[in-house]
């Protein structure tokens, strides 16, 4: 591991947040944001494993055109559960609740979030939501697709739509409370001298994410409540047979659904800014442009929902407006990519795992973003909508983007969270496996979609088999790539070498305190006198 020269072997602090208290009560009733981050980490790792297992089964089934493993009914339930689990119980909470919870107070020089008890309550609500949802899956599942389109979900589906909807409904409250907590924390808890334009870009992106949490989650909650009303009491809201309007559901769902996509990717963009700065030992190029692009993305994301409805027969002029707005949201994303690349220019680019994840993210996200232009463009969307092209596109953003960012962030801050180093060679190897496996899994799906294979197909015409087998082969490599970090992180937590407070030579308040940090983070409230990423200065900025 290439780090700044360390003359003395670092040692763990005597007392830190991990050993301050022992026993299950000290964890399950903790209000320490750092311990709550761990509670979330364990929970979402479980959900990721379940969702990933489902994806593996789906890819195995698709090795044969007629389905190698299961009946179409089971396959349909699998892709529904995979989508819902990954979106609501892994991706949406991933970076905000693990890295955000751990880092937001530390990065802004605070001792905890604004409402520590509410923070713990969010986790309990999240676990309740996850349990209700998993119960629905175990009792027989849902076969509506994660989009829950009506009247399929309200009238025709036989599965446990109601309990699944209740699970997601509850999870929304967890997200809203987390969002509120973060917003208040960032507004009110900043250390003296930590002005808005001295905030790390990670904080900016999580602030934008929190705004979306608070504004978008109520919409899906209301929509799910309406589904429940129609399913249970036959109140005609969406099903025309009862006097409802199925298009109304699509408006409501995508008014939530498109901002939700940015809930998933914005935190990852924030992580990438941190990874690039630390990996290059350089201030992020165009700081304020990167910061404001997060805000712009959050704002525009609420105005593009109609792009999901190009095929529904909406007016061609409404289509023009939504198409133009969808193109517009590409601009702030492009600005971020250009600024990250410019940061690397004439820098000292490390090839440690966090930076490898960041470089991988930029490449894959660029592909995900550019293929989005095919879908924003009306004339090509009518061909690509609901095909594997769309599946590939959003996995490039969600997996190639969001998960790469999450893993990169975990690697960068793992020494801070545990005080231990992980084996760098294994980490690089796993990162390369993830990158290669990912591209082999989802690259062929772009071609599949263009050639005409619709998504959500349990069986498919035989001419698509070669590409499907390639994709399934890639998925198995990807699975190994995800498994390796689980092993070495577990090893590192117990047996890893001691990291010291700042193994990367990085800047930022979190690197000025011991690893692992003490329970109250800072013994003395820091006074901030410098901008974020104050590289090129002799000493860090703690008063």
């Amino acid at each position: 591991m290439s780090t700044v020269a360390v003359e003395v072997t670092p040692t763990l602090p005597e007392v830190h947040y991990l050993n301050a208290d022992y026993g299950w009560r000290s964890w399950l009733f903790t209000t320490d944001h750092k311990r709550i981050a761990w509670l979330y980490l364990f929970a979402i790792t479980g959900f990721f494993a379940v969702g990933g297992l489902m994806a593996t089964l789906m890819r195995l089934n698709l090795v044969e055109p007629q389905g190698a493993l299961m009946e179409p009914a089971s396959y349909n339930k699998l892709f529904t559960a995979h989508g819902l689990i990954m979106i609501f119980f892994f991706l949406a909470p991933s970076i905000p609740t693990v890295l955000g919870n751990f880092l937001i107070p530390i990065m802004i020089g605070a001792r905890d979030v604004a409402f520590p008890k509410l923070n713990l309550l969010s986790w309990y609500i999240f676990m309740l939501a996850g349990s209700v949802f998993m119960l629905a899956v175990i009792r027989g599942g849902v076969d509506t697709g994660w989009t829950l389109y009506t009247p399929l979900s309200t009238t025709y589906a036989n599965g446990h739509v109601l309990s699944a909807a209740v699970g997601i409904f509850i999870s929304g409250f967890s997200s809203i409370l987390t969002g509120l907590n973060f917003m208040v924390t960032i507004h009110k808890m900043r250390a003296p001298g930590m002005t808005w334009f001295r905030l790390p870009l990670f904080i900016w992106s999580l602030y934008a994410t929190s705004v979306i949490f608070v504004l978008a989650m109520p919409v899906i909650a209301i929509t799910l409540a309406l589904i429940a009303l129609e399913r249970v009491f036959h109140v005609g809201i969406f099903d025309p047979a009862l006097g409802g309007d199925p298009i109304l559901f699509q408006h409501l769902f995508w008014f939530f659904g498109h901002p939700e996509v940015y809930i998933l990717i914005l935190p990852s963009m924030g992580v990438i800014s941190e990874l690039v700065a630390a990996g290059c030992r350089k201030r992020v190029f165009g700081y304020s442009f990167v910061a404001f692009s997060s805000v712009a993305i959050a704002a525009i994301s609420f105005m593009v929902w109609g792009l999901h409805m190009f095929l529904t027969g909406q007016s061609v002029y409404a289509g023009f407006v939504f198409s133009a707005l969808s193109f517009a949201v590409a601009i702030p994303s492009a600005i971020k990519v250009f600024n990250w690349t410019a940061t690397m220019h004439k820098a000292s680019v490390s090839y440690d795992a966090p930076m490898l994840y960041a470089i991988g993210f930029i490449g894959l996200f660029t592909i995900g973003g550019l293929t989005g232009l095919f879908l924003a463009s009306l004339g090509t969307d009518v061909h690509l909508h609901d095909t594997y092209f769309v599946v590939a596109h959003f996995h490039y953003v969600m997996v190639g983007g969001a998960i790469m960012g999450y893993l990169g962030g975990l690697h960068l801050w793992w020494p801070k969270m545990t005080g231990k180093l992980y084996p760098e060679a294994w980490a690089r190897f796993a990162c390369l496996l993830v990158f290669a496996g990912f591209n082999l899994t989802f690259g062929p799906q772009f071609i599949l979609g263009y050639l005409g294979m619709p998504r959500r197909y349990a069986v498919y015409p035989p001419e698509f088999q070669v590409l499907n087998v390639m994709s399934s082969a890639g998925a198995s490599i990807l699975a190994v790539g995800y498994f390796i970090p689980l092993v070495y992180f577990t090893w590192s937590a117990f047996k890893g070498p001691v990291a010291g407070p700042n193994p990367w030579g990085a800047k930022g308040l979190e690197w000025t305190i011991p690893s692992p940090p003490p329970t109250n983070n800072f013994d003395v409230t820091p006074i901030v006198t410098q901008e974020a990423y104050a590289y090129g200065h002799e000493e860090a900025h703690v008063g």
Partner: protein, 356 residues
């Protein structure tokens, strides 16, 4: 704006390359076994909407491909050229805070690019969606059902299912087919890639689309909006025929079903069973008491190449299997397994075989 006008013969070289690249992966010429049909590839468009989609695709691909090469090139260049060297002493590189000129450049240039993309795409879709219906258009109403297609030819006063027949349209004197899209239950989507883009079928929301196939032949497609268990076996088959062939097909479809005198003893027995059981709750055979509308119209069942919405070829063996155990062919379809004796299944099949 000449370059925005898509002429695929001009884009021919790019098309050739893409088709050559794609064909070994897709087995472009290999259809389902025993079926002379072709693939669903957009790279062989056969109708005006599909033509313009392909043209636009190549344009968008060229632009996004160029952007990708530039960004990826710069990324790799920076990552390799400025990599941390072995003899790194931990010193921090020169700090550059940003550049307003650069920010302005890489904001304005992408804006210009997406404006061009937007206008081009809007122009294409406007030409397709606002096309006027000529007087000589054939009109068909398409009704999506969980998991099959109903085709109502109101102009000619008959109903059929799962196999859409339309006349070929001469590009010099177009005679397109306009489709009105309805749904009997939940959302579906009509998609025959070589003919046109998708349009959804949504209950209580009539939509329209049109095709003007330039060549006779069979064009395959599928339901593209997830609609339930057998979504993947809700296949579309569009038979494009010369005007003469189409007219004689229409004439044949307008005929009534055969009467008892025209069939043998076993088939007549089958007809009695058909009309005496639940079959007629869902199926119609014109000229008989069977007038159910929940399932496909069977008046000219034997004129179709496939059964169960394109799931299997229409052979006597498949037909008998389908009425006896539908789950063997399409598990989860709404066709119930009838509780009849073996002889009765034989008789029922014999009757269905007379529905030419």
């Amino acid at each position: 704006m000449r370059f925005l006008k898509f002429d695929n013969s001009k884009a021919g070289w790019a098309l050739q390359i893409l088709v050559v690249l794609a064909s070994p992966l897709s087995g472009a010429s290999a259809g389902p076994p025993g079926d002379p049909s072709t693939s669903t590839s957009i790279f062989r468009p056969a109708s005006t909407p599909a033509d313009s989609i392909l043209g636009l695709s190549l344009f968008v691909f060229a632009i996004t491909g160029t952007i990708f090469l530039i960004v990826a090139g710069l990324l790799i260049y920076s990552a390799v050229k400025f990599r941390r060297r072995r003899n790194d002493d931990g010193r921090e590189p020169a700090q550059i805070y940003g550049s307003n000129q650069l920010e302005l450049a890489w904001t304005v240039i992408p804006v210009l690019i997406v404006v061009v993309l937007f206008l081009t795409a809007a122009r294409v879709i406007h030409a397709i969606q606002d096309a006027r219906k000529p007087a000589n258009a054939t009109e068909v109403t398409v009704v999506g059902h969980q998991f099959w297609w109903e085709y109502r030819y109101s102009q000619f006063d008959f109903v059929t299912a799962n196999e859409l027949h339309v006349p070929v349209s001469d590009p010099k004197d177009p005679s397109p087919t306009f489709l009105t899209l309805l749904s009997a239950d939940t959302d579906h989507s009509f998609w025959v890639p070589r003919l046109a883009g998708k349009t959804d079928l949504i209950p209580n929301h009539p939509n329209t689309t049109w095709i003007d196939p330039h060549e006779a032949g069979l064009y395959l497609g599928q339901c593209a909006q997830y609609c339930g268990t057998q979504h993947a076996k809700m296949l579309l088959r569009v038979y494009v025929q010369t005007r003469a062939d189409f007219d004689s097909w229409v004439k044949a479809q307008q005929q009534s079903s055969p009467v008892n005198a025209q069939m043998d003893q076993e088939a007549a027995e089958g007809k009695r069973i058909f009309e005496g059981t639940a079959c007629i709750n869902c199926h119609a055979v014109r000229g008989t008491v069977a007038n159910g509308r929940f399932g496909p119209d069977l008046t000219h069942l034997m004129s179709r190449d496939t059964i169960a919405a394109g799931a299997v070829p229409n052979t006597p063996a498949n037909l008998r299997l389908w009425i006896q155990t539908p789950d063997a062919i399409k598990p989860g379809s709404l066709m119930p397994a009838m509780n009849l004796s073996d002889e009765d299944f034989d008789r029922l099949a014999a009757y269905l075989l007379t529905l030419h």
